[in-house]
């Protein structure tokens, strides 16, 4: 039986995730991160996982701090990785005017980004791939997935392929706001969840 974590629990995880980035001493406000297809504290659709098409999910944000010039997103699982977190997705150089990310961001580095996020590039995830790869926790376990968004005070235009540490180091001192959305996933293997 799946356990639905209340939204309040998701909010608590937001604070944990924010504290684990290592960004210190910055005057940073919070803003709202949402998704038209996912709900905070609820299970995400399987098409955002390797039990489905493994598309990157759409995100939207609102209430960005004044002076936001670019954004960066890290999707990560603090319940996996040695050491945690396991990084599923890194994307940055996102224009401040974007309003969010569309579903299915290209996983080909040579393919242009959609018009709304032109200029954005992807960093290397935990598998070393510059692309989104969705949740693949051990069968039978529920994991929490953060979509953490950073508002930056400058157009840093960072090179593609940065890993998590590289991105956090590059944006250190430029973060003027943070938002986080936490969703859940449990694998749905074919032998247990036939279509």
């Amino acid at each position: 039986m799946k356990v639905i974590v209340p939204v309040a629990a998701g909010a608590a995880l937001l604070l944990i995730g924010g504290a684990a980035t290592g960004l210190r001493g910055q005057d940073s406000s919070t803003f709202i991160v949402e998704s038209p297809t996912m709900t905070t504290g609820r299970f995400m659709p399987r098409d955002y996982s390797p039990d489905g098409r493994n598309l990157s999910p759409p995100l939207t944000w609102s209430g960005l701090p004044t002076g936001t010039r670019q954004l960066a997103v890290i999707s990560q699982d603090y319940g996996a990785g040695r050491p945690p977190p396991w990084v599923h997705w890194i994307i940055y150089n996102i224009p401040a005017t974007s309003g969010g990310l569309p579903e299915g961001v290209p996983f080909d580095p040579d393919h242009p980004m959609p018009a709304g996020i032109a200029g954005a590039v992807q960093g290397n995830n935990g598998w070393g791939l510059p692309a989104y790869r969705g949740p693949a926790p051990p069968v039978g376990s529920v994991h929490h997935y953060h979509f953490q968004v950073f508002a930056l005070d400058d157009e840093l235009d960072l090179p593609p392929g940065l890993d998590r540490d590289g991105l956090l180091s590059a944006i250190d001192g430029h973060v003027i706001g943070q938002g986080d959305m936490v969703t859940l996933y449990e694998r749905q293997p074919m032998n247990l969840f036939p279509r």
């Binding site: 390797p50 039990d51 489905g52 098409r53 493994n54 598309l55 990157s56 579903e103 299915g104 961001v105 290209p106 996983f107 080909d108 580095p109 040579d110 393919h111 598998w127 070393g128 791939l129 510059p130 692309a131 989104y132 790869r133 969705g134 693949a136 926790p137 051990p138 069968v139 694998r187 293997p189 074919m190 032998n191 247990l192 279509r195």
Partner: protein, 221 residues
Amino acid sequence: MTDSKGRRSAISRRDLLKTAGAAGAAALVPGAVAGVNEEKQPTPIPVGPLTNLTANETEILSAMVDRLIPTDELGPGALDAGVLRFIDRALSEAESDAADAYRTGLAALDAYSQYTRGGPFVDLSTTDQDSVLIDVQIGAATGAGVGFAGSSGSFFNMVKSHTWQGMFGDPQYGGNTNFVGWDLINYPGLRLGVTPEDQERLEADQLEPLRRSAYDLGIFQ
């Protein structure tokens, strides 16, 4: 990277060639676009039946190696080089222990494609084929309960390794047809001696390649 048929490759040719020879290097650079419904092109089918795989298994393997090293603007791909023939022959000889791993892995690959992308692997768009292969490579397909024996990544790495061997190995073993693999990486050919003039021509990229197998040389016979 887009090939001559308008298809996109699962591994960029440039990155493959940079690492072709680096044992264990998993240099997969995804070459397709999520969510884009590209027009499906027919997958070339090898001439003649294979000995160790069924027609359906051959079709799936054909589509897989065609994504690993596609024919594109830089030159021939795995199918042109006879990689299928190389693998089939290896399964009869030095790699006979891998025959079951191929049958199990190819069936699991197809089941995974059907479960997650809604169709057999050979019928998927090249975008979805690439996405499937990435999930198989990183082991994410393992937990989908589709029948991979162990990690799906082990199956991917086995096929990738054999594909590279068939593409760039000595033609004596059934692949590298007409030395297309060696030509692709500008391999000057097997030489028992290199003169100073040869070295100068090599560095000037003017050395005419010797297209011959090691087994054409008397000392190896």
